[in-house]
Amino acid sequence: MSIEVNWERNDYSRIPFRLYHDEEVYALEMERIFRGPCWNYLCLEAEIPNPGDYRTTWVGDTSVVVSRAMGEGGAIHAFVNRCSHRGAQIVRKTHGNAPEHVCIYHRWCYRTDGELSGIPFRRGLKGEGGMPADFDMAAVSPQKLRLANVNGMLFGTFSEHAESIEAYLGEFGMGMVKRFLHKPIRIIGYSRQMIHGNWKLYAENLRDTYHASLLHEFFVTYGVDRATQKGGVKMDARHRHNMNHAFTGSDTQADALAAYAGTAGVVLDRMRLRDTKLLEHTPEFDDRMNLAAPTFFPNGLLIQINQSLGTRQIRPKGVDRHEVFQTLFGYADDSAEQARHRLISANLVGPAGFVSMEDGEAIELIQKATGNQAQACNVIEMGGRGPLKDLTHRLTETPVRGFWSYWAELMGVEPAGGIR
């Protein structure tokens, strides 16, 4: 299978809308990206602390079980959640603890490392029926993923050829995972959101720092985040991952008022919270960032907004829908007061988050309006055209172009002279 893309430009400053709507593109993405040489974010080790603990997760459109084995000192495994026999989903719960996994259909049985370990009536009954004598269970066991564990953040890949996780995430990515997960964490819980738009629109949204202080007006109105703050975007060497970040209190009110004067729909500093505890923020990292969202191609990110910490996973559900699965956490040594403040801070993020709810709507508006625009393209020039580079300001969409450059490479559709 292959697709053709008529790129208007080789720097990805024009993206054909078709790429958000085409079923063939979507099918190829599942193969070349999610089942290709990428490391996909799976879940957190803290979610499966005990032998036999498991969680089901998604790699693209493939259901995957992440499991801590009963033996082997509790090693962690990830395998495709599909019975070798007839293809039924093996594990039906989102999480749990089990000494083995049994498909309900014909009770084929799997070890906690995913190996097929038992077939009812394999030898038949009284010399009749049964599987052929030379049937090899190991040969048909569910596909395993290669697993990487970075400070408790678990990544998986289907590819034998994927580079090492260190090389994949790069120094910047590895450093950011270690920043967030520098000590034991405690899971606070989950949220889920179904956005009726192509999954790449969410991936782009995470790489577009331009929208943050405009769409998410709460940021600006209450001073959590504005383009006048110190911050910027960082990318890995291949420009596939990125991090939008900002430092609280790094601009002045006068700067910000002047900068936003005349911006329709955004009026700075016009409201006050009656209860300001929501925005109380005690820097807890040495770098003093209050907003940090390192985003890892293709499906994962870590995100800090003030005191709220979490991961998000993009779960494509067809060409025109994706789920955003969010896991919030705090640290195991949080005081009761800190733990409470993290919960209060959860008001900022997630499907009902003061500074995140808008993304769902913006993405759906694009999906709705572009379906009949087979030949048309969007316009991505904020922050400049041409080469991809890190920026110490935030009025940029350059990482969006970085995303597309790696996407095009994996999909085998780079334009002549395509930048990387």
């Binding site: 819980g189 889920r192 007006e217 008001n347 499907p351």
Partner: protein, 158 residues
């Protein structure tokens, strides 16, 4: 549970009022159903069943509730829609310190500006209220949504 008729009527009126005020977009009036020292929380059943404390929305006093509504009115962008709540009959669960606790199931439909309706959320309420001057006032409202997969986003209250 033995409950005076007055209380039963107050609970029933409270739920009817609660639904109507949201559905008619009178959110500022909806806030007035709550005591100053109140608690409003939206959680999902997936978290509750795992004993996890995560919240989608948590206002631990009436000012936070006012802030939520002010932000909805003036700051946040969301899918334009009308809400329609269908709330089941309340079941009385407990009585403590002059307050009553009821639980009731709900369905919440959303209709977009072109008239397309969808089921937005189902779940249950656990509401603690006290009756003063013949009207019920909410001390706490816990919304436990079975529908943990939020369609698009959650802006107007459940």
């Amino acid at each position: 549970m033995k409950v005076p008729d007055l209380i039963r009527h107050a609970a029933s009126d409270l739920l009817a009022e609660y639904a109507l005020l949201i559905d008619e977009d009178r959110l500022e009036d909806w806030v007035e159903l709550f005591d100053e020292a109140c608690d409003y929380k939206v959680v999902t059943r997936e978290n509750v069943e795992q004993g996890l404390p995560n919240v989608l929305i948590w206002c631990d006093n009436k000012n936070m509730l006012r802030d939520r509504i002010a932000s909805y009115r003036n700051v946040n962008e969301y899918n334009l829609h009308w809400d329609r709540h269908v709330i089941g009959a309340p079941r009385f669960c407990a009585k403590a310190a002059g307050a009553w606790v009821i639980e009731a199931g709900y369905s919440l439909f959303q209709t977009d500006m072109e008239g397309v309706s969808r089921l937005f959320s189902v779940g249950r309420y656990r509401i603690e209220f006290a009756v003063r001057e013949e009207a019920a006032r909410i001390k706490s409202a816990l919304v436990i949504a079975d529908s943990g997969l939020i369609p698009t986003l959650l802006a107007s209250p459940i």
